[in-house]
Symmetry: C2
Subunit: 214 residues, 2 copies
């Protein structure tokens, strides 16, 4: 099993999402003591075809057999080679409101190679403390901490009106990936990747199609 | 301005998302006392072209003028005619953990025509109380409350292992739209619309592209 093929360039957006889903199922299977997994099992979990799973895993250089499927442990290693930075990646969260706190708790310890190491808020009453092992700072410390902690990923849980300027501050300090929960799509530079996770929009869409399906 | 064109059938997934985004910007503009808005302003907010905005708004029957743009108030009404159920829609949240509580707080009062009216958890210690105006019940009350409260939308913030059977219970009770935060894609029947909002997958994808962009 090798990950050499992935060094050639970034994989597509959707492929990365599926690889992350496969790895999660593999983690569950490993915990249950299962040593092999078939493409159709991964396919059922991720809601895609078995052929799609085999294509995805071929791209990342994983080898399976028609009779035994894939070795769970080796496949987790292989996917880690694609999804994880070997040195680990560090994230910061900005906006310690209800959602911010819930996310700090939710993501705590979920991924050994990806951890939220700092949180920021304008409100001094919410900072200078530790939430789930994550130190909380006031906003004026942002650039300094991002540089010192080598933070490359930013999570935004600020109000819509603050999102764009906080994103710009994070970018300027060296962050190159942003996950934005604020209900305001971000404009970022060509060397920054940003994804908007708009929960209100998603809920409105679910409500719309719920009516249409009734 | 008319919404008659929308009665012919459901609009596409992406269109509904954009209409929701436009409405949010319009709400902000209305609060600032602005009476007109141009397609290029909506376009900049949603990260699409002005031509796309004009196409979307033509589909829902909104009329603008090249000189004055669109009337903000009339456009909000028009979008409401598409996005909202005139009688209002009621949602239930299942899983009162950190994320569930944060979402109850986050969504509280955000949409007059879409409100979370009940929350459920297996843990009796978390129920029989009110969070943000939302009554919390134990799971054995689920079917009864969903029917009595005419709930059509379900929000899942349960562990991955519980997501599928909770979704099935909600469906059986009459829910036809599901927003799933559990890290486990849902399988639902043909008359139910489900959307997975997988935060761990999204964060892993952001981290991956953050490295590639560095």
């Amino acid at each position: 099993m090798t990950t050499s093929m992935t060094a050639s360039g970034p994989l597509p957006y959707k492929t990365i999402g599926r690889l992350s889903q496969y790895r999660r199922l593999l983690g569950l299977r490993l915990a249950m003591g299962q040593r092999n997994v078939y493409s159709h099992e991964l396919a059922a979990f991720a809601g895609v075809t078995a052929a799609q799973v085999r294509r995805d895993l071929m791209i990342v250089g994983a080898k399976g057999s028609p009779t035994k499927g894939y070795d769970v442990h080796a496949l987790i290693e292989c996917l880690g080679g694609v999804l994880d930075d070997p040195a680990g990646q560090r994230a910061a969260l900005v906006g310690i409101g209800n959602l911010g706190r819930a996310l700090l708790t939710y993501f705590h310890g979920r991924r050994p190679k990806l951890s939220i190491v700092a949180a920021f808020d304008v409100d001094a009453a919410k900072t200078d403390r530790v939430i789930c092992g994550c130190r909380c700072y006031t906003m004026d410390k942002l650039a300094e901490v991002v540089v010192a902690e080598k933070i490359t990923v930013g999570i935004l849980t600020v109000p819509a009106s603050e999102a764009q300027h906080v994103a710009a501050e994070l970018e300027a300090a060296g962050v190159s990936g942003l996950l934005n929960f604020a209900p305001q799509p971000l404009r970022v530079g060509p060397h920054t990747y940003a994804e908007d996770l708009d929960m209100t929009m998603t809920l409105e869409r679910v409500a719309y199609f719920a009516r249409r399906n009734r």
